[in-house]
Symmetry: C2
Subunit: 682 residues, 2 copies
């Protein structure tokens, strides 16, 4: 049964098997173009699931593209959110959205977010991106359909690596318990995940036995045989009394020879040359207007950039990184400091690293790279953040020094209760790595941008929290936390390359802020500054203080430069790398000596700003001292897809935002202290 006119029940358009095959082939081509234009994304999994997508969106599902909210439509829940482009192409080919728009994939403000968002694109049933949630959402939808007496089906598309998430088995149990025969799960079994073969990372087979034991009907199919897929979807619709899972045997990267069965193509996209090769191999080079699509993407991007620049705070010159001779910096992602430290210190037999399937990207795999003698201390745990966290606690209880990390949204939120009870309550030596935190993970979009992790981590008793400002500090901080700091510890890294502003000789003392002051102009921007432990410094009569952590420290330094150049203000910068315990003395000193404080955090405002304000108002030494503050950070909103540096601007955490906010604050500071107060009290 194909696309339907919801007002009449008539078929709008039917597809033969041959037409579906053609559609899938074309969809693969458009997928390659969109990914190439985006410059990031997931090639392998979008290709493996594409035949399923075509069969589902163009044939198996009952829906009406002109009425996406039709109550009797079948629901399609795209649980493997990283395969969003396939979903978008399914929608586009079915007529829910314009096909050529898909090429704006992953760009700032696009409805085609890195992971699907139902509030941005009609036809997307639910927002996904954090693996393992879709089947539960589907259970909720299936229960709702039953309550409402409706007969539509709920399709849920998952990956095989995703089956490592415990939540999937909670949902599977629920679906079995409630005999949800209106629920059809499809697993794209392409046997590969980021870290390698599923069987090596964390074996999920035998999936058929597992699902049967959880009360499901199981159907197996060749996920690239269109005729079989069509038949299997029909069979699945007929299931009675039990939910159905379709185990689709697929090939990752299917259709593009050089991507097939290559784990490396999980989170990689073709460049322009590879695109040409791919389209040729798919035999779609003549059917897709490649150049026009790439132009369309470029034009969208140019317009988005223009709009963004128009919204930037006004400064008289271009102070951007490396834009002029005095702004030169080297850049490297802070996350690399993790790998450097683990490579250097992993010889300690107590060190054990747990892999959560993005090991290369977060650099935790540098622990064992080229060091076979450490292989036994590398424990691949799959996409199962909760269990890995508690397992790390078990290892720590036995005297090990475990390191466990993933995207911070998964390693410092998905597993919060495990961090709290298994790790913190027992005060165990577990180093938790929150990688790709802040907005700099970029085009992946909001689901993967940890902007709230510090609230939870700083709130836990016994926990230490460090947010290093650059790759050098990240290495030092990792080493300190791993080997010296007793108890639970959380370290937060960014994904994108950010300026290197410290050197080997720069002090890093856990719990002690560094003071950074602009001394002169220098070819290397970082060398224009002097950095010392705050407690070793004397007051130099600075006009204001910027307290920052993580990649906001370089931004604060650039803001100090702008403030000097544009306004003539002298700025004290505090690098508050340790957020817990926070250096209260440095905050009080800055307040008493400069009277005005701007905080800057690549996080929802408050993790840093709230702590600083609390110290300012409740420290008896501060009583009677009026202090004024302003906060730079994310303003209680989710992130967006976009380039990392675009998002720094979009979410208003750039040096320009800091500088202009600081200048506003200075204008207030120059008003007579207490004048308003007396007037209002009178």
């Amino acid at each position: 049964m194909p696309l339907i006119d919801s007002s009449t029940g008539n078929v709008i358009r039917g597809y033969t098997v041959e037409q579906l095959r053609d559609a899938a082939r074309l969809m693969r081509g458009y997928d390659m173009v969109a990914l190439c234009a985006a410059g990031s994304g997931h090639a392998g999994g979008t290709l493996s699931i594409m035949d399923i997508t075509a069969a589902l969106y163009l044939h198996a599902a009952h829906h009406d593209p002109s009425n996406p909210a039709w109550p009797d439509r079948d629901r399609i829940v795209w649980s493997a959110g990283h395969k969003a482009p396939s979903l978008y192409l399914g929608l586009a080919f079915a007529g829910f959205c314009a096909l050529e728009d898909v090429v704006t994939l992953r760009k700032l403000g696009s409805p085609f977010q890195g992971h699907p968002h139902c509030l941005k694109l009609s036809g997307v049933e639910v927002s996904t991106g954090s693996l393992g949630q879709g089947l539960s959402i589907s259970v909720g939808m299936a229960l709702a359909a039953r309550l409402d007496g409706r007969n539509h089906k709920i399709f849920c598309l998952m990956g095989d690596g995703e089956q490592q998430e415990g939540q999937v088995w909670e949902a599977a149990m629920e679906a079995g318990h409630y005999n949800l025969d209106n629920l059809i799960a499809v697993i794209d079994c392409n046997r590969l995940q980021i870290d390698g073969w599923v069987k090596d990372v964390m074996e999920v087979e035998p999936l058929a036995d597992k699902y049967e034991s959880f009360g499901w009907n199981v159907i197996s199919v060749d996920g690239h045989n269109m005729e079989a897929l069509v038949a299997v979807f029909e069979d699945a619709r007929q299931s009675e009394g039990k939910p159905v899972v379709i185990l689709a045997d697929t090939v990752k990267g299917k259709g593009v020879s050089f991507m097939e069965n290559q784990a490396g193509w999980h989170g990689k996209v073709p460049n322009r040359e590879e695109l040409t090769l791919a389209l040729r191999g798919l035999r779609v080079a003549d059917e897709i207007p490649v150049e026009r699509l790439l132009e369309r993407a470029k034009a969208y991007q140019a317009e988005a950039e223009q709009k963004l620049e128009a919204r930037m705070p006004h400064v008289s010159r271009n102070y951007w990184w490396n834009a002029s001779d005095s702004m030169k910096v080297a850049m490297e992602p802070t996350r690399k400091g993790l790998g450097q430290s683990l490579a250097a210190n992993g010889g300690d037999e107590r060190v054990v690293c747990l892999g959560l399937d993005i090991s290369g990207s977060i650099t935790i795999s540098d622990f064992y790279a080229g060091k076979p003698e450490r292989a036994s201390r590398w424990l691949s745990m799959g996409i199962a953040e909760q269990s890995a966290t508690s397992a790390a606690a078990g290892l720590a209880r036995e005297g090990k020094l475990p390191v466990v990390g993933s995207y911070a949204t998964f390693s410092a939120a998905r597993n919060l209760d495990q961090i709290r009870v298994s790790v913190c309550y027992s005060n165990l030596n577990v180093l938790i790595v929150g990688a790709h935190a802040g907005v700099s993970v970029g085009p992946d979009g909001a689901t993967h941008q940890a902007l709230e992790d510090l609230f939870a981590m700083m709130g836990l008793p016994n926990m230490s929290v460090v947010v290093p400002c650059d790759v050098v500090e990240a290495r030092k901080a990792t080493t300190h936390l791993l080997l010296e700091q007793v108890g639970p510890k959380y370290i937060r890294f960014a994904r994108e390359a950010t300026p290197i502003v410290t050197a080997d000789a720069t002090p890093f003392v856990f719990g002690k802020a560094n003071r950074i002051r602009l001394r002169h102009q220098a070819a290397n921007f970082a060398e224009a500054f002097e950095t010392r432990l705050d407690e070793d410094c004397r007051d130099e009569g600075e006009d204001l203080t910027i307290i920052a952590c993580g990649p906001e420290v370089p931004e604060a330094m650039r803001a100090a430069w702008i403030l000097r150049q544009e306004y003539g203000y002298a700025t004290r910068i505090l690098n508050m790398h340790t957020l817990k315990p926070i250096d209260r003395e440095a905050i009080v000193r800055a307040a008493l000596e400069t009277g005005a404080i701007v905080t800057a955090e690549e996080h929802q405002i408050g993790a840093l700003a709230g702590q600083v304000s609390l110290v300012l108002t409740e420290t008896p030494r501060m009583y009677g001292h009026p202090i004024i503050t302003a906060a730079i950070g994310i303003k209680d909103r989710f992130g967006d897809s976009g380039a990392p540096w675009e998002l720094v601007k979009e979410l208003e955490v750039s040096a320009e935002h800091i500088a202009v906010k600081a200048a506003e604050l200075m204008a207030h500071k120059r008003e007579p202290v207490g004048a308003a107060s007396h007037a209002e009290r009178a």
Copy 2:
């Protein structure tokens, strides 16, 4: 193999099957005494697992009570933490601790916490209490043993309801993947959980098929047949190449006739008469020094209370609730407001309630109690907080108004990523109930005392957060959030009865603080106060402000009374029931008009205090106005077992603590403003 001398490898003591049976019978008796003395706890599950406990601690496990840290000991991970008394009795009978001390169970400062804590009692391998974490910890321990080349076994004891937690299946998959044949799981299959029969709450069977499909060897046994248990443990030790799970068929409440197979005895304990009956039924009445044990418990309690009182801040009289004619209040738990609202508003066909196995206690079951027509809208989801949260999102996406709740540690932490992505990112109408939050859940101990939940909940975009101050406000707030407030919403309740200080006519406006002022003396304490919307009030020249939320509001009122009586201060109280969005205007008004603010929260300091301070320092209208604050709340520590009101004192959040802190602040306020400032700057 029995208890071992770790220095020689010799057997210290062996037990015959008959002796093990006797030990189990006696342990059941001691269990009943300890639970009776504690006044709370879990009778049913401690009885079902007691034969297993005796077999394991006295026979199957290799360990040495005189050397609890012996590296080659078998590890026993007590994953079903609520069955702690059985663990304690296993330890005591094996000689790890004094048997008579177990009767201090659940009392303030006791090593015998409501849920096991490894930092308090030697012999407890890991801290547990949040279900589903133990198997993962065991996996970590088993991997550590393998890394260290040790041959000991790791035993992990779980319940059958616990199998609903997805984390268990993550761990099961890991154990299978790594062929952990040094891991032996035991499931106490007593077929009952809090909400009823496991098969009705959320069927977990066929467990044998499930574990086999996850790569385990499965052994079934009658969990009350000592001979069989002894044999089965021996078999399990011999397993090679795979982890083993022992499915022990048991009877909840086993050995005490009136408790057997009764779900109601899950979280209930015998009173003095029932104790006598139970001991008689167990044929241990003559073997256990009941009176001496109860005396011991009483003496411990008296001493704990004395110590606690000695640490209380000094006030001249007893101002405790109902201690004098002017302190009379009625008390009811705030959680009951949830049930009242759901009972009243559940007729709305959109309302759907999801049960997470503590439905009666958190009163969410009042939704359907006595109303069979609502039965289909009651969805039991088992102990699976993550999936239930995403399922609620699915229901909301379909137009329902789902309500999902549990202990706040589980419904607002275990499921944080699901709340973030499934619910908040899509801005769905899900009402999340954080029940039993704060310290007032009492004897259950730290694992169950949510003291960090507000950090995570307030940090999420799109989320509304309300913490009602009493049962009346709780009912109003629930109704508002359920039916009026669009988007995700979090409401936080306490378990213990707390003073009723509002009435039907008291205003409750979402997002607007109430101002409470002491007017006169009254027989009913609450009637001594006048409560109005803060924005409708004029400044009355109060000396200071206390900003409080939840059950700290009545404490703040009592503090205001103490401040009036002891110090002559007039206090403005703000009931900040809505924490997000917070009433910034009310905070600024209080600061400008009173100049001194004490915050009071039954939470780690900062959820309220940090917000208030941030408003105070960053609001331009406040610039130039010196403001001084002090914060009452939990001081970055975990809670403890103890009576709810003892914990209010122990964790320093009583009215007395507020009042004395406020008086200290007032002493500072009276110093000349800015004097110190000028001196220090000079």
